[in-house]
Chain length 117, copies 2
């Protein structure tokens, strides 16, 4: 199923980018957040693998092109005001450049009652 | 458990904001993405409810102040380069201004094999 919805890349404060939340479709874990411009968003849709816009290097970035840790796209969903995209993937390896499965590993607060009981 | 890690609000391209991914700790669903400046981040930590920076209104925004749909913070985790925060919450009502549980409801691609089988 494909429904054509388009992100609003021209919205103020977005620098012509939309944040992309990447989750593991199997575990539900949140792996990373990257940014997509119109070209990388289109490449992600057409190739079925994630492409981002590297803000630091100012270039298109095919995730896993060097490491082999590509991300196979399963679903893409836009939010209510079309300025964020949620992408479920099947990860081929780790998401983080530190070698970790997920980029989110620095706890600030952890009051998770499920862990502490 | 509280470990002091601090987001990098002064990083280029961030406009002194960090995106905050909000998830429902019970269901694991991704509810919304908002932006936090240093003040709203500090308020979120100190009050235990989510506060954002409204880019459109250019003001602090206590989620649920008007609607009653506050979000109780369970955990906060920063990513590898300290420019995104992942927050697990117990939502008191819906997250989306449209009345939906989650802001992510506009499908672009849905190849979820778990749904289609």
């Amino acid at each position: 199923m494909t429904i054509e919805q388009t992100p609003d890349f021209n919205k103020p404060y977005q620098n012509n980018l939309v944040p992309a939340i990447i989750t593991d479709v199997t575990t539900g874990a949140i792996l990373m957040l990257g940014y997509m411009n119109e070209a990388s968003y289109a490449l992600t849709k057409s190739t079925g693998e994630t492409w981002f816009w590297s803000r630091e290097r100012a270039e298109l970035w095919h995730k896993g092109a060097t490491s082999g840790h590509t991300q196979q796209v399963v679903s893409m969903t836009l939010d209510c005001d079309l300025d964020t995209v949620l992408i479920q993937v099947i990860p081929n390896g780790v998401a983080c450049h530190t070698g970790r499965y997920s980029c989110f590993f620095n706890p600030v607060i952890d009051n998770d009652f499920r862990v502490n009981t």
